[in-house]
């Protein structure tokens, strides 16, 4: 590996997760000489702990541009998956049958309907269909649901994929496009010097014409070094995984899905726990109880694994895409929906980075929005 390392790159991507590798692949395909710097085996890695949803419904309340960006990525996801398969041979099992958000009480159902109404009533909100279903209508599409399920919201644009295979495919893809993947390269320091960026890790120094910060929760520290702001914090989510079972569920549900391998994944939780990524039985138990109320016949399935992962969360939950003013050529990209936005990142954002400028439509995602709200 060391022998083939080149000192000069067009673009250094700090972070080899779903955000970094999608952009690295996209940029490499555009002819950029790319290096991806990644941490070691036990790093936090939100990319290993997500739910693999490619999700549209309910996103963008408070920022309709985010709904549009999400839908754009979702609409492009099928083509993105096809391109990945053609380039790498890996099928990331993308399906877009539509998805459900199940409600276990009248209050939950009413709240859900209200949220979606408010979302779609926003000015400049992109239009797409969704339905609110009662139990009987829902049972026609999800025959396994239990009597405790009051109803659900459904959106035909929702889907899911095999996100671990997605990460692997992106890594294989960027490698075959000539990108250099440099593991165990936790970045200590970076700075702009003489028209380029110098990036220092324990293994030495690397120079690149441009740099993209895609280091998840690590962005907060790195951003300040190149005149950027990335006010992100870790937000814990826990997941339960069952043994493999014959296919019984053809649609992803916001908090429960069956993978292409057969296992059932159960979420969804939100905790402000700092950098603690250990699981807690109380949260796992609550999620399990809801899952069994949703699908009673899951009760006898064995839990074979649990994990917790740290989402990369901004104050308003929307992404940050930014370009540095004081250090031109430095960019940051962070979000907590790296799976849904993978297509957008690879197909739309990566070419912008290759060209060295973010499109005006992404200006709304700049971290400057946080300054404005503070001043207000």
């Amino acid at each position: 590996m060391a022998g083939s390392e080149r000192r000069d790159y067009d673009l250094a991507v700090i972070g080899g997760g779903l955000v970094g590798s999608a952009i690295a692949w996209g940029a490499a395909r555009r002819g950029q000489r790319v290096a991806v710097l990644d941490e070691g085996d036990l790093a936090y890695r939100a990319s290993r702990g997500n739910f693999a949803l490619v999700w549209v419904q309910s996103k963008g309340l408070g920022m309709p541009e985010y709904a549009a960006w999400t839908k754009r990525s979702s609409d492009a996801w099928g083509g993105f998956a096809d391109e990945l398969r053609a380039a790498t041979g890996y099928d990331v099992a993308f399906e877009r049958p539509g998805g459900f958000h199940l409600c276990l009480s009248e209050t939950e159902l009413e709240t859900r309907a209200a949220v979606l109404r408010r979302l779609h009533n926003q000015p400049h909100m992109v239009q797409y269909p969704y339905e609110i279903l009662d139990h009987d209508a829902l049972a026609k599409r999800l025959p396994e649901i239990g009597p405790a399920v009051m109803g659900a919201s459904y959106c035909p644009l929702d889907g899911h994929c095999n996100s671990l295979r997605l990460l692997k495919a992106l890594h294989a893809g960027m490698k075959s496009e000539g990108a250099a993947y440099l593991a165990n390269r936790s970045v200590e320091y970076l700075e702009r010097r003489a028209g380029e960026f110098s990036i220092t890790s324990a293994s030495g120094e690397l120079r690149a014409g441009k740099v993209l910060l895609a280091a998840g929760n690590g962005n907060a520290r790195l951003a300040a070094m190149v005149g950027l702001k990335a006010p992100v914090r870790p937000q814990r989510g826990q997941i339960i995984v069952t043994e493999k079972v014959r296919r019984f569920l053809d649609y992803p549900i916001a908090t429960l899905r069956q993978t292409d391998e057969g296992s059932v994944l159960i979420g969804d939780s939100v905790e402000e726990a700092g950098f603690d990524d250990t699981v807690g039985l109380g949260v796992l138990s609550t999620m399990a109880a809801r899952a069994v109320r949703m699908f009673p016949r899951l009760a006898a399935l064995n839990v074979v694994r649990t994990w917790a992962a740290l989402r990369v969360m901004t104050k308003d939950g929307f992404p940050i895409y930014d370009r540095s003013e004081s250090a031109p050529g430095a960019f940051v990209a962070t979000c907590h929906s790296g799976v849904t936005l993978a297509a957008g990142h690879a197909l739309f954002l990566a070419p912008m980075l290759a060209a060295g400028a973010l499109a005006p439509e992404l200006a709304v995602f700049s971290a400057r929005r946080f300054d404005v709200s503070q001043a207000a």
Binding site: E243, K244, R246, F248, L298
Partner: protein
């Protein structure tokens, strides 16, 4: 495959495996009962359909998975054979409700 060292010993425990009668003896695990009855394969894998059988007999390998009394993916080496048990070998993934 596996033979009993003292043939006449111990109380017999009668169970069925895939509907066929099998005689185990008191104290056998279900896995031991299968091996004693000459049943070579207890399942096929959910990933590729490959044939598998008990390997470690101590609950570590998860190869001896069978359906016992209608409940799938039980580790046969950790379940004591009881009279009247209905054991079924497994094909691929477990089914919901079984």
């Amino acid at each position: 495959m596996f033979r009993r060292l003292h043939e006449a010993d111990g109380k017999a425990v009668r169970l069925t495996v895939d509907g066929r009668p099998v005689a185990a003896r008191e104290g056998d695990s279900v896995a031991a009962a299968l091996l004693a009855a000459g049943i070579v394969v207890c399942r096929t894998t959910p990933v590729s359909g490959a044939a598998r059988a008990p390997y470690c007999m101590m609950g570590a390998c998860f190869e001896c998975l069978v359906t016992i009394d209608g409940r799938g993916n039980r580790q046969a080496c950790l379940v004591r054979a009881e009279p009247g048990m209905a054991v079924a070998t497994q094909v691929g993934k477990r089914e919901l409700g079984r």
